[in-house]
Chain length 204, copies 2
DNA sequence: CCCCAGTTTAACAAAATTGTTAAACAAAAT
DNA sequence: ATTTTGTTTAACAATTTTGTTAAACTGGGG
């Protein structure tokens, strides 16, 4: 389980790139973070852009890959909602900077989304199709109140992801240290689930 | 109402800085966006950092200033929730890049939050105190279900703000053009309000 | 012991970006 | 009409960041 230098560099690059995006990342930061020097960095990788591409693809997959799998499962709506929330918050506890990183890079070059999406065989229509269908069925059966399935999905994602994007702000506003924040996010899996289920439940 | 060159430059700088943050902004981008040249930019402003500071303070105020006012109003909880949502989504429809910008800069230099917060006389404790008190009172009265007021506030912010942070991603996933997105956000004011109120309502 | 992949050092070249300057020019103000 | 102010151009200096190179060193494998 001892890491190769290549892996050490990649891990460092992930940290530095995800912290502030491509433009803010210095190759010297990556080297320092990896505990090596810049020359060695170029010994293993052509240049900054090459490292970035490798990382972006990996992070992109991490962020969307699992989501796609969960989204296409054959569960009930309730179970699917639970799995989406658990999956999102769970991976983000391990990789808190991920959503900000993706947001920064996709905002500055939106074509990345389509490019890497197709590269990984992810089809946006497929992603939401089953969820939409399932939600409409539950509405038709009268199990939940009438709500736009797309908005519901946006709501679930918002509740799961936003706290990580805004982590530093929330930490100050709510006066939490990093440990408290992480614990809070652990509890949040259940709380967000309840919040959503309550929100879509019918009231007498 | 004709703009001074200074204002034109500032407007351009807002666009460029909020698009990708300080590190990704080129002074030549700002000049091009303003329709002037780099020399003139330095004629009006000392340097890039000076322009950035002015803009960050302004954007920070825009983002948090109004929120603080709303948060301290004397409304009922329900009315306060409605106002928070309307205020957040309303200003973000006008300035969609704002939350990503704040998130990027605060993440790379968290001390900015405290620095500009105190500079503008905004106290985080004050911000949430009234909201927390009010929520607890409603819980005690049995009007809403038992929920952590901080989590509730995070939920409201998440639902209001996240869609703008993730705008490019949502647009692709949900297959919306920019106009559809904006219309969708207009409707969202009401939908988020209903979603939240349902979520905290008690069930039989 | 010697070789060699991996690594460091240090110097440097190349590129990108920022900031400065002087000169010329345009338009408005006096 | 001429000064002043705002603006452009173009060249360039300074700085920062990236990428390259050569030489030396290190430690383990053959």
């Amino acid at each position: 389980m001892t890491k190769t230098t290549e892996e050490i560099i990649m891990d460092a690059a992930i940290k530095v790139f995800t912290r502030g995006g491509y433009a803010a990342a210095r190759t010297s930061d990556i080297a320092r973070e990896a505990g090596i020097n810049r020359a060695l960095l170029h010994y293993y990788f052509r240049d900054k852009q090459t490292i970035f591409n490798l990382i972006f693809e990996g992070r992109f997959k991490e962020f969307f890959g699992g989501l796609f799998k969960v989204m296409q499962s054959e569960d009930s709506l309730e179970e699917k909602i639970r799995k989406i929330i658990n999956h999102e918050i769970g991976t983000l506890i391990l990789h808190p900077d991920l959503p900000r990183f993706i947001a920064i890079e996709v905002a500055s070059r939106p074509e990345l989304l389509v490019e890497y999406g197709t590269k990984l065989g992810l089809n946006p229509r497929m992603l939401i199709a089953r969820f939409e269908e399932l939600t409409r069925a539950e509405i038709a059966k009268g199990n939940i109140r009438d709500i736009d399935p797309k908005q519901l999905l946006i709501n679930i994602m918002s509740l799961s992801i936003y706290p990580f994007v805004a982590q530093p702000i929330i930490r100050v506003m709510m006066q939490m240290d990093p440990v408290m924040f992480q614990q809070s996010m652990e509890r949040r899996k259940q709380e967000v689930f309840e919040f959503v289920m309550n929100a879509i439940k019918k009231h007498a």
